[in-house]
């Protein structure tokens, strides 16, 4: 397991690479990517039982980026974890390539468990994978990272009821609760609060953490699978655009692409020199 300091450093590097790629490939959803970086680095460097050299092992843990628009962050963390060379990302967004705004299907890129992008699909698919483990008597866990806006989708709550009712205890949901969706505050679009109570009411163990605090995230993951036999929902309070002062909590960065000067300033704030 990597140390907290190591994971923090990885998060800084990932943020810098995501911002550079966004600039170079005109890739949107920067704010949404930056808000989930610490969750991804914690999972990939201290939680998931995965082996990039044996990425099809039936016993591997599954991670699904249900908020598929965070793909630019996922692609970077998968490269950093060794699923493919980081140099592959040099032609991000190019015609004929594989790296787009959303993840491709698993057979096109190692490390991807599901092609997401249409919200509300990743969790139910992951639920199927978690149910398969029970039927096949296998011991793996399934993790699905959702956005708060994604909780608008009815299929999320269909899955939540199924998993809660059938006690799918090897299923963990992490909600990147950055309080924004594409065009407005998530709480102002649809009645989201009280989010943790909602998941609890659907039969899940819930815990609220600071989604940028590696220690808190690791502690939450260490209690999963829960002894209660319930699935677990980790409500991770995050800041959209986290890590760069002029992007933090500014929803313009849902679609805005940083210019050269902004990339330079971001890297300086992140303490990345190259």
């Amino acid at each position: 397991m990597s140390s907290i300091e190591d994971i923090q450093q990885r998060s800084r590097t990932l943020r810098s690479r995501i911002i550079e790629t966004s600039h170079k490939a005109s890739m949107p959803h920067l704010g949404s990517c930056l808000s989930c970086v610490d969750i991804l680095s914690t999972l990939y460097f201290s939680v998931l039982k995965i082996d990039p050299k044996d990425h099809k092992s039936p016993l591997r843990d599954r991670f699904i980026l249900s908020k598929g628009h965070g793909a630019p962050a996922l692609f970077q963390v998968l490269a950093m974890r060794g699923f493919y060379p980081e140099s592959w990302l040099d032609n991000y967004g190019e015609d004929g390539g594989i790296f787009a705004e959303h993840p491709p299907t698993p057979c096109y890129l190692a490390g991807i468990e599901a092609a997401t992008g249409s919200l509300g699909h990743g969790l139910p698919m992951g639920l199927g994978m978690a149910l398969a483990a029970r039927i096949l008597n296998q011991q793996y866990n399934v993790y699905a990272l959702l956005s708060d806006g994604e909780c608008n989708e009815g299929s999320i709550w269909e899955a939540a009821m199924f998993a809660g009712g059938k006690k799918i205890s090897n299923l963990c949901v992490i909600i990147d609760f950055n309080k924004w969706q594409a065009t407005d505050r998530s709480q102002d679009v649809l009645a989201l609060d009280p989010l943790a109570d909602k998941w609890k009411a659907f039969g899940w163990d819930t815990v609220e953490v600071d989604g940028h605090d590696i220690y808190q995230l690791q502690k939450a993951f260490s209690n999963f699978p829960s002894k209660t036999g319930k699935p677990m929902a980790i409500i991770a309070h995050t800041i959209k655009g986290k890590g760069v002062s002029f992007m933090e909590d500014d929803n313009n960065w849902h679609y805005r692409i940083p210019n050269e000067e902004e990339v330079k300033k971001s890297k300086m704030e992140l303490g990345i020199n190259q």
């Binding site: 698993p106 509300g120 139910p124 698919m125 199927g128 199924f162």
Partner: protein, 307 residues
């Protein structure tokens, strides 16, 4: 037909431990025997078809063979995006079964009619689309679908549909079954409306018209080879389906005619571009939409004699 489905899938589940059956809160007691085989492989997913379809995809992506079963509109139009993205885009070998297809549930109103499922499912890359004409074909379709490794949609009737096949025919997905040889008119039919197709052929015989009757149980991939053969033999082709005339079997055959520049004329029997607002039985609905043997035979006779 649904009882045959329950019976066959129960048999298959005994033989194949990968089979998992998901139902959308229908079929009270229908699957009790399946549950006896292995309760862990049957799940009532509740009235939540979008989740059910995604779960089926997740199961299939984990090495299992999931079968999704509910009333046709709810397992097709209701969760079309889940079929498109989670099943087809991922090439997940899910078998989707729609019960009470076409006008089987005519008396339940248009919410329960299914007259567009063949059309929309046919548009999805990798999806195979089937409409067996009776329980015999349904059982064979299920077995064949499980041999393959790609998504399949099978629309079936409700219960009490007459048996068409007295013996077990050779059954290959994408290859039609000729039920009756003929030389003047080819009646190409999909699904349980086959009873009317065969009765229409009898009526045509009285008129001195020799009608071939074919079960085109697979709408996609279409049996092009058969169409080439029959177009060289017959003067007129009629498609019959309990489905809208837009996008189903008739359209698929018309696409083939267009692609191949086939000169054979075609009559499409199906339901028109409308919802059925009045109440009625399946028989009533078939009659209303000109899908009974008498009307089929007279339309074909008139057209044939004008050629």
């Amino acid at each position: 037909m649904r009882n045959s489905f329950a019976d066959e899938i129960t048999q298959l589940a005994k033989e194949d431990k990968r089979i998992v059956l998901l139902s959308g809160d229908i079929g009270n007691k229908l699957f009790d025997k399946f549950k006896e085989v292995d309760p862990a492989r049957f799940h009532n997913c509740g009235i939540a078809e979008a989740n059910m379809m995604s779960v089926a995809a997740g199961l299939a992506m984990s090495g299992l063979r999931s079968i999704v079963y509910t009333i046709t509109p709810f397992t097709t139009t209701r969760c079309f995006e889940q079929i498109r993205v989670d099943v087809c885009y991922h090439e997940a070998p899910v078998i989707i079964v729609g019960t009470g297809a076409g006008l089987s549930y005519a008396d339940l109103g248009p919410t329960h009619h299914s007259l567009e499922d063949l059309a929309i499912l046919r548009t999805l890359p990798g999806m195979r689309v089937m409409a067996p004409c009776d329980a015999v074909e349904l059982r064979l379709a299920l077995r064949e679908a499980l041999k393959g490794n790609s998504p399949v949609y099978i629309r079936i009737g409700k219960k009490g549909e007459p048996k068409i096949h007295n013996t077990t025919p050779d059954f290959i997905i994408g290859k039609s079954i000729t039920l009756r040889e003929g030389s003047d008119v080819a009646i190409v039919c999909a699904g349980t409306i086959m009873t009317e197709a065969l009765a229409a052929a009898d009526l045509l015989h009285v008129e001195g018209i020799s009608a071939e009757v074919v079960s085109m149980h697979t709408i996609k991939p279409l049996d092009d080879a058969y169409l080439v053969k029959v177009a060289g033999k017959c003067k007129l082709l009629a498609t019959i389906e309990e489905h809208g005339v837009i996008g189903g079997l008739g359209s698929a055959v018309a696409e083939w005619r267009s692609e191949t520049n086939s000169p054979i004329p075609q009559i499409c029997f199906g339901t028109p571009d409308e919802f059925m607002h009045e109440v009625g039985s399946q028989e009533y609905a078939r009659k209303k939409y000109g899908l009974k043997a008498g009307n089929i035979a007279s339309v074909i006779t008139e057209r044939y004699k004008s050629l």
